[in-house]
């Protein structure tokens, strides 16, 4: 019990809320790494997923690729890249990007692929060009699934950004790694609480976004006469 009390104490200590090692700074770093990671992963995975989902070509490859990427141990990549590239921002971010790609990629791909062929057919029959079909029909209809994948990726990244502290970067992981080094479990627990709160907040924001951009027509079946 005292562990939780100590963690609470850590969190409420005003000294921990200022300075270069304070919680706000760590939060900022954490969010910064996460956003950077997600941005890179989105730029890579979304277009690829859209293309494969739309053309139906290479679906097997994408599923296999996502599976293989998913099995890559982030810790291993982190250490490998660091050894090869030295200290710095890029090695950990690269490792995290590889972590974030599979959910985004397979979410995008399978979201698009799951759009009813009849619907795509209808779109083409109305005279939509391929890109109009993709952007006006497939993407809007697949959006809930695509955003679901992005949400998953974001959650994973937020939780995993903690291990960039294993090498030398900041973020909330610092509290974890430093706490671990000196067996200060209350600090680790406090870090968990912070990460969880951050993740929940991010998840809530993404869920809201998901709700806002998802057409009500894809949700409701309830209120028909």
């Amino acid at each position: 019990m005292s562990l939780f009390a100590e963690a609470a104490q850590f969190l409420t200590d005003p000294a921990h809320w200022t300075g270069a090692t304070g919680i706000p700074q760590r939060l900022l770093e954490h969010v910064g790494y996460s956003v950077l990671t997600m941005a890179i992963a989105l730029v890579i995975a979304v277009p690829l997923g859209l293309w494969v989902g739309h053309t139906g070509r290479g679906g097997g490859v994408v599923v296999g690729l996502a599976g293989a990427l998913r099995s890559l141990p982030t810790l291993g990549l982190l250490t490998l890249f660091t050894l090869l590239m030295g200290l710095g921002l890029m090695p950990p971010i690269l490792a995290l990007v590889l972590l974030a790609i599979p959910p985004i990629l397979s979410g995008t791909y399978s979201g698009i692929a799951a759009v009813s062929p009849a619907l795509v057919d209808a779109a083409r029959a109305m005279g939509m060009t391929e890109s109009q079909t993709l952007f006006r029909v497939e993407i809007p209809v697949a959006l809930p699934v695509i955003l679901g994948g992005i949400r998953n990726a974001a959650l994973q990244v937020l939780a995993t950004v903690t291990i960039v502290a294993y090498i030398n970067l900041g973020g909330l992981g610092r509290y974890l790694i430093d706490g671990l080094a000196v067996r200060d479990y209350s600090r680790m627990l406090a870090a968990v609480v912070l990460v969880a709160v951050l993740a929940l907040a991010a998840d809530a924001v993404l869920a809201l976004a998901q709700r806002l951009v998802t057409s009500p027509g894809l949700r409701s079946t309830g209120d028909r006469p």
Binding site: L83, L87, A165, Y166, N168, I177, D178, V182, R183
Partner: protein
């Protein structure tokens, strides 16, 4: 307690007081594994049946393992062991530490054997260029330039008594910033130093890179970094007599330079595994029946 751990229970049967097999454990970094292999070789040479359990983890883990009997002996470092057993201990020199240790350990039902000469302690290290630029020979020389320098070291350096606070207290030195690197003073820390990401680093004295990269170890006149002699950690009456004797005879033979050389073999380009490196040393030192 570990009673619910099925794996720990299994090991209880295989080792411990009732059995005549001695289990040698090690922490999860290469030097500890090397020394553990040395212990194992020495014991085998003395006719003791040995099992090894390398890479148990951090101190808390292997100390726990010794306590619960899943491991009988494990190499450790005098100063840090004392601080682990007694957080408020103030002893710093090797003599003081060796005096304080047995009492501090007794309460935990642990004991140590004789310490070796070999020592692997924290030290502040700079490149030759930095040393020249700021005229550094000892840590005390840093005090005027501290504020301009970035220091690299393991994350716990900021928290330890000998760490950031100790430097400030004893040498009035506060670095511009601290860069935590979690490789135990390994290649990344050295890299940070050589690439200029940091100017001062906390690197263990047995790191071969100190010699290889021609780094300068700053002297520590005020004994900020406490002594860290290599010694076997065990529990009272755990080891058979011949084992205790063999280890006590071995310890004086091991030197700091031995550790540096062994480390170089394991972590350097040779990439030997700890057991092979240890085997070579044992053979060179007349332990014929070590394997």
């Amino acid at each position: 307690g570990g009673g619910s751990d099925p794996l720990a229970d299994k090991n209880d049967d295989a080792s411990g007081g009732s059995s005549d097999t001695v289990t040698v454990g090690s922490a999860d970094f290469p030097e500890s594994q090397i020394v553990a292999e040395l212990y194992a070789g020495v014991l085998r040479d003395a006719g003791v049946k040995v099992e090894t359990k390398p890479g148990i983890g951090a101190r808390e883990a292997y100390v726990g393992a010794v306590k619960d009997g899943s491991v009988d002996v494990v190499p450790d470092y005098s100063g840090n062991l004392l601080l682990f057993a007694d957080k408020k201990a103030e002893a710093a020199s090797s003599g003081e530490i060796m005096k304080a240790l047995p009492d501090a350990l007794k309460s935990q039902d642990l004991s140590v054997l004789d310490a070796s000469k070999a020592e692997d302690k924290d030290a502040l290290v700079v490149t030759q260029a930095t040393a020249d630029k700021y005229g550094l020979k000892t840590v005390a020389d840093l005090s005027s330039s501290c504020g301009e320098l970035v220091m690299a070291g393991p994350p716990e350096f900021q928290e330890r008594s000998y760490g950031t606070s100790g430097l400030k207290q004893k040498y009035d030195c506060s670095f511009k910033s601290f860069q935590p690197i979690n490789d135990g003073g390994g290649p990344l820390t050295v890299q940070a130093l050589t690439k200029g990401d940091a100017q001062v680093a906390d690197i263990f004295t047995t790191t071969p890179a100190i010699q290889d990269e021609k780094l300068v170890v700053l002297e520590d006149p005020k004994n900020n970094f406490i002594a860290q002699q290599v010694l076997p950690l065990t529990a009272p009456d755990r080891l058979p007599k011949e084992a205790v004797d063999a280890l006590n005879q071995f310890s004086p033979k091991l030197t700091t330079q031995d550790l540096i050389d062994l480390n170089r073999k394991v972590s350097g380009d040779e990439q030997q595994n700890p057991a092979d490196a240890a085997k070579q040393w044992l053979a060179d030192h007349g332990y014929d029946k070590a394997s």
